[in-house]
Subunit: 277 residues, 2 copies
Amino acid sequence: MDGIRKNAPIGVFDSGVGGLTVAREIMRQLPNERIVYFGDTARVPYGNKSKDTVTRYSRQIARFLLTKEVKTIVVACNTASAYALDEIEKEIHLPMIGVVKPGAKVAAEVTKNGKIGVIATQATIDSNSYSDYIKQKNPQATVLGKACPLFVPLVEEGLLEDPVTDEIAMRYLSELIDVGIDTLILGCTHYPLIRKTIGRIMGDGVTLVNPAYETARALKRQLEERNLLNEEKIDLGTNQYQFFVSDDADKFKNFANSIIRYGILSAKTINIEEQNE
Amino acid sequence: MDGIRKNAPIGVFDSGVGGLTVAREIMRQLPNERIVYFGDTARVPYGNKSKDTVTRYSRQIARFLLTKEVKTIVVACNTASAYALDEIEKEIHLPMIGVVKPGAKVAAEVTKNGKIGVIATQATIDSNSYSDYIKQKNPQATVLGKACPLFVPLVEEGLLEDPVTDEIAMRYLSELIDVGIDTLILGCTHYPLIRKTIGRIMGDGVTLVNPAYETARALKRQLEERNLLNEEKIDLGTNQYQFFVSDDADKFKNFANSIIRYGILSAKTINIEEQNE
């Protein structure tokens, strides 16, 4: 870790706005850190795209974040964590962390009956990443994955508490209820926004795991271990949080300010396709 | 139109698979033509993205189709027709046709009470393209646009006839019913796939206009007028239809074969981001 500055920003990226739920947790748990966030709003979503495509996009974004001299990269997108993190980590010489491992670790630890459910995009489910990591930690565990493609559009339409969202959630979740899981991973950054609906349908006996929260905790530990926590005083409101997107910046700012209620002073558009070797 | 070969293929592009409903109409109405189809499956959807981004993507795709020596380009995507067609048409020296004008023209002609509804993506509605063209043809017309962002994900989830789709359609369409439209444009390539649901809710008094059908008719007229219809005999099954996508080709082929029941012999993946000047 020689040469990495403690006061350098943390890079965070996502396919779009969902990763702001992860950025928000990092802001809460690490209030003295700078953040550079990139949302790939011109190519969102990733959840129905192939491993090759998601890896190419993630590589371009990692290169962009390197130009911002970040000290670590947080892959705030479940699909990119599942498909691209291992490969990108080999290519760049910087600590990285995704949302899958921290979420999987906690689920493997908290389950009592060994039956864990994962709800996520089709791509994250197809990758088997959650299942593989859970079984590394807890070989006895049974993992049942369920893709929930309509959750993201329903959240983005604002139907957070709505009979239609209830009906769709009941269809998606019924097989997880039938097999008797006691732990459910919210394996897509949008899902914590309908946590109430999911919790009501699953019932009190099921623990919901939010990878955004676990990732911010794991990031804090990682930075502590590597002696990379920022020790400088930061003037809040100066340049602590910087936001970049590949599509229109104003549209992003409006949505982002509804998730993060402070700190989005500016957002800039960049052409991410040009971030090649 | 000097130098354009009659036996050259027709280029057709869309943000993804939806434009296949337009390609299918062209195959039906112009069975003796070759088609090169491009679906931008790595960056789909376009309907919630900005004019700048959709124009940049459309420009890259037009350049790719030019390398295939097409004789004309059909913009099978409503959002790209609304945002990008006018600009791209100025840049390339080839006849182009989009789905907006043919749909708007027919709607302006068939309405009796002058009240026309348009359902489409947020971007298509924001562009006011349908409304502008309709008023050119029929200055007395009143046009009411309604964005229906959940229709595409519902169609892609296969919920073509489902209580949830009914409920969402009723919410979207109620204000169009309230103002008493007699004509409704299905202004997104996916919507004809839930035509039955939309028709049932709107009732028999409302004429549904399918721009895919009107575009194939307009294309046929355009090629006739320019003396560009293919006169060669084509061996079906050889190379009449070629499909290119920016994401995984196999996934596209499976879906495409469910829309077009013949003719998808091969699909290839290309890197569309490299199609720059």
